[in-house]
């Protein structure tokens, strides 16, 4: 029996588990990676709904400044939206919490949490994560930190409002803005808990991938999803601790009278007793995490899309080794580019040049990946599942957004577009849309594995096309607003007549945002409806090679009823002419004379 074999194997503290679990240990304090993955996913969906709603609230203000919208008053109340007009402080709070939730809770915790948990053990042929207990803790830290972040929206003075980058002194001084009071304290606490969750998760993923691969699963046979998740976890483990230091120093400055980030400040009629600190120190520490963070967001999405594109083109992923090399190169380079966020801080210009160089280098492995995707499609036999559509769209947004990054990387050009809507357009396309597309694609693709049922394909199509059109519709025009000189994090642009001529794009963007937001209802409905009512899934619905499709549809502890599967080939033998079928699962032994990978 699986369970006994499982305890015999003795991975961590699973001994007390059995199949007759109580409801609580099955659904709440579960240590099973598949359940934890679903917990992450559902939490992330909830957080994403909140973040999208916040963005639509402030998009209403941006699209039609000063107009009154009863709906704002309905959701935000008289204090934040008196007469249906968004309050200026509330605007900044909403932007900040929107960004924070999207980047950390949806696309880091949510994306990695869901797919690392689901796919790592299943795709490497392990019974579970190395430590189920730490894995459970990882989820619960995530859940608590999510609650605190949401709760911070409701405190007196409002949530943190200095932007998701919380630069001090603004964030360090409660006198500087209402959101820098209790709201910021909660933000910081939530973030520390979040990092704990990330580290517990990340260490677990790394250990699992390194130690628990099944027989025959060489590193060079790992599916690219696992490679991407591995590098993501390493990036997280190396960079998140720096964020914690950064945050703790900020907490000290706020509450214990230190001055790491503060110097020579006169505010609200008082010369503060602080000298010798530097606000730039914060930025160096913050971006040391902040930049790898964007790859923590995008790499899992790229891994997911590699898998989906290969499966649905019925072709091997092109340049498997180059893909691994690119992931590693991107991972390494991502640690030495953080200064590109600081060209206009007064940082030494020569140091700036170094960061220009390293940053533009990243374009090379990224370009290699893009070309490899396209070559994978070439002469394929493409099946447009909703997951496939999202993955193709991901390649498009990754390329489009990556290209504008070239301009931002060039310090001489960044001077003029830094902190404008050009940046907002850039990072939403390359990171926001790409990662969201990867996540949605992943859900459509692995839903049968998660819930044993299929999602409705037609709704999936409608959801995809609306999301693609609206996604580009929202973020593409933002580049032009930014190049015309419109700063970001502005509540209203009507004080600047020189921008009037581009501002007619703003209502258009807002309309796309509203439609795009509404289109997500299709997905959410499909998701929850299909859990109970979807068509029951077959074992291997997409004809895929990877190991997760060799497990039974109905979940069981330990994943495989009998012995663990043995791996004989790489994951990408699609349409291999040596075989009759157009896919050859990794468990099929090589034919005599066949050259393996």
């Amino acid at each position: 029996m699986a369970a006994t074999e499982y305890t015999v194997h003795g991975h961590g503290s699973h001994g007390h588990h059995s199949h007759e679990e109580s409801w609580i240990s099955k659904y709440i304090f579960s240590q099973d990676h598949k359940m934890i993955s679903k917990q992450f996913l559902v939490t992330a969906i909830f957080m994403a709904v909140v973040a999208v709603m916040l963005s639509i609230f402030f998009r209403l203000q941006l699209g039609w400044p000063g107009e009154n919208f009863q709906i704002l008053n309905f959701f935000l109340g008289d204090k934040w939206a008196p007469d249906g007009i968004l309050d200026r402080n509330a605007y900044l709070s909403l932007v900040t919490i929107h960004g924070t939730i999207m980047v950390f809770f949806v696309l880091t915790g949510g994306l990695s949490g869901t797919f690392a948990n689901l796919l790592i053990p299943l795709q490497i042929g392990a019974r579970d994560m190395a430590s189920g207990f730490l894995n459970m803790l990882s989820y619960w830290f995530f859940a608590i930190s999510s609650c605190i972040m949401i709760a911070s929206l409701f405190v007196e003075g409002g949530a943190a409002s200095g932007g998701w980058t919380i630069y001090p002194p603004l964030s360090a001084l409660p006198q500087a803005m209402p959101g820098s009071g209790l709201g910021m304290t909660l933000w910081l606490i939530s973030m520390v808990l979040f990092v704990v969750s990330s580290l517990l998760g990340g260490l677990n993923y790394i250990v699992t991938i390194i130690n628990l691969r099944t027989k025959g699963m060489k590193m060079t046979r790992l599916p690219l999803t696992v490679w991407a998740l591995l590098v993501t976890a390493i990036l997280g483990v190396l960079s998140f601790p720096v964020l914690v230091s950064c945050v703790i120093l900020l907490i000290m400055d706020r509450s214990f009278g230190t001055a790491f980030y503060l110097s020579d400040i006169f505010i609200q009629g008082e010369a503060l007793d602080v000298t010798g600190g530097s606000p730039l120190l914060f930025q160096h520490l913050f971006w040391f995490l902040g930049h790898p963070e964007v790859y923590i967001v995008i790499l899992p999405a790229l891994g997911i899309s590699s898998e989906i594109i290969s499966t649905n083109s019925r072709k091997p992923i092109f340049g498997y080794r180059a893909m691994i090399g690119s992931i590693l190169a991107i991972g390494f380079l991502s640690f030495i580019v953080w200064g590109h966020h600081m060209y206009v801080t007064g940082m030494n210009p020569f140091l700036g040049s170094v960061f220009v160089f390293t940053t533009l280098l990243i374009a090379i492995p990224s370009a290699v990946k893009a070309f490899n995707y396209i070559t994978t499609l070439w002469q394929g036999n493409i099946r447009f599942t909703p997951a496939m559509l999202f993955s193709i769209a991901l390649v498009s947004t990754f390329v489009t957004g990556g290209l504008t990054g070239i301009i931002l990387a060039d310090s001489a050009l960044d001077i003029n577009v830094h902190d404008t809507y050009f940046v907002v357009g850039h990072f939403h396309i390359v990171m926001g849309l790409s990662a969201i597309f990867g996540m949605l694609g992943g859900v459509y693709h692995w839903y049968p594995k998660m819930f044993g049922r299929m999602m409705n394909t037609k709704l999936g199509y409608a959801h995809f096309w609306l999301t693609l059109v609206c996604g580009y519709g929202v973020f593409f025009p933002m580049h032009f607003i930014g190049m015309a000189g419109a700063p970001r994090r502005y509540y209203d642009y009507s004080e600047f007549p020189f921008l009037d001529w581009v501002m007619d794009l703003n209502p258009v963007i807002s309309i796309f945002a509203i439609i795009g937001g509404a289109a997500q209802v299709l997905f959410i409905f499909n998701f929850f409806y299909s859990i109970r009512h979807g068509q029951v899934a077959p074992q291997n619905p997409w004809g895929a090679n990877t190991l997760e499709w060799t497990t039974p549809v109905k979940h069981l502890h330990g994943n495989w009823p009998g012995a663990l599967p043995e791996v004989h080939r790489w994951a990408y033998d699609y349409s291999n002419p040596a075989h009759e079928e157009d896919f050859v699962p990794q468990t099929i032994p090589l034919k005599p004379g066949e050259v393996g990978h």
């Binding site: 200095g162 503060l262 409705n456 709704l459 000189g485």
Partner: protein, 411 residues
């Protein structure tokens, strides 16, 4: 209204539910399974890829045509070089954008599933991979080199005879200081800031004044405390004691400053006397190199002058610089644009608090003669002090200070 909103939401969800049911029903009637993508569906999506590509490219071209002239020609010397670099970069990325997106969507369309075909088992080709490592590699080298040449030029040290202008930020406005005839800025220190002397210029008189003010405040609070505190909340008493402590520290820092600087630096203290301080708008001469020196009073702001392709953060405690040479006067620019109300602006471009979105100051680029005439008219620091502080009237009355303190905000 609220009801209406709820109603719409509920109806929307019900509608989707019905749709899903219907499609599920027809599916099970026709015995089609979700995972089997029908040929018709597949073809439709392939076709939509093409349609989307056309729409996407069309809208992109439309945006380029209508909104592509993002800003008027640069009004600064380095800005012209930046614009050239920008144009080249934009052309390069636009080409790649079209080519790669075309290949992606076109291949998606062209290779949609057909029963009779088998996908090509093609997974590796060193030559191809070399090509698309080298092409970006070469393009990047070009962009890096060209970019860094421009960058080095614009960030090189300013000429010795450049006009130096200090730009000073605080929530939520800008103050600009000119060094006066001696071309030297008077020393400034954040301890010397008071509500009306926001730059914190140091002069021997202002030091005495500031110390007197602090002593006055301390005395006033002590007076209030000694009048009996039984009726007052304990927390208030504590906060007042804390306030006294902070005021004493403040005084000490000023005394240190005096001791530290008084000896040999007296000349720079006096240098501030002829500094000119302006608000609301400031003028700069055309065709003369200007070195901006940035300071900030409270939080980080950013001095963004889009028409000059110039931006630099202002950081409390860390002075920053940026040099530029304006090339087009306001008058010329107005004629060029045919817009009599056009003005150059400096905007705040680093979120700094509630009024961040309207923290601006007008910049006027004059020819040399007009600039000099304008500058002459601005009052010097000494003249300003004499104007609003007639000699003798120094210490504020104790009572009003304490009342103002009670709300914890101004002193």
């Amino acid at each position: 209204m609220k009801l209406l909103i709820l109603l719409v939401i509920v109806l929307g969800i019900i509608a989707i539910a019905q749709l899903a049911k219907v499609s599920e029903l027809t599916r099970s009637l026709r015995q089609v399974r979700e995972e089997d993508i029908s040929l018709a569906d597949n073809k439709m999506n392939a076709f939509l890829m093409l349609v989307w590509m056309v729409v996407f490219f069309g809208s992109t071209i439309y945006l380029y045509v209508v909104y592509g002239d993002y800003l008027p020609d640069s009004a600064s010397e380095h800005g012209a070089a930046v614009d050239r670099l920008m144009d080249i970069n934009i052309i390069m990325i636009t080409i790649v954008f079209f080519v790669v997106n075309f290949l992606l969507f076109y291949f998606s369309f062209k290779y949609y599933y057909r029963k009779e075909r088998k996908a090509r088992f093609f997974y590796h080709d060193n030559r191809l991979e070399m090509v698309w490592t080298l092409i970006p590699g070469i393009s990047m080298s070009f962009i890096i080199v060209y970019g860094l040449i421009t960058w080095n030029k614009m960030t090189s040290p300013a000429a010795a005879d450049a006009l130096r202008i200090e730009v000073y930020s605080k929530q939520f406005d800008w103050t600009v200081r000119y060094p006066g005839d001696n071309n030297v800025f008077g020393t400034a220190d954040f301890n010397m800031i008071s509500s009306d002397k926001t730059l914190g210029l140091v002069t021997p008189e202002r030091i005495t004044l500031q110390i007197d003010t602090i002593d006055g405040e301390i005395a006033a609070i002590k007076q209030k405390l000694s009048e009996g505190t039984e009726l007052l909340p304990e927390s208030w008493v504590e906060s007042m004691e804390d306030k006294i402590y902070r005021l004493q520290r403040h005084k000490q820092r000023i005394l240190d400053l005096k001791e530290f600087k008084a000896g040999d630096n007296l000349s720079t203290w006096e240098a501030g006397a002829d500094d000119r301080i302006v608000k609301g708008e400031f003028h700069i001469p055309v065709n003369r190199e200007i070195e901006f020196v940035f300071r900030s009073q409270d939080v980080i702001h950013s001095a963004y002058m889009p028409h000059f392709r110039t931006q630099m953060n202002t950081v409390p405690g860390v002075p920053t610089r940026f040099k530029m040479t304006p090339t087009i006067t306001t008058k010329e620019m107005r004629e060029k644009l045919g817009d009599d109300s056009f003005d150059y602006l400096m905007l705040c471009n680093k979120v700094c608090g509630v009024a961040h979105f309207n923290m601006q100051i007008k910049i006027v680029v004059d020819d040399e003669a007009n600039y000099n005439a304008w500058l002459k008219k601005q009052k010097t620091f000494v003249a300003q002090i004499e104007e609003d502080e007639p000699k003798g009237a120094v210490v504020p009355s104790g009572n009003s200070t304490v009342i103002a303190l009670a709300d914890g905000r101004s002193m």
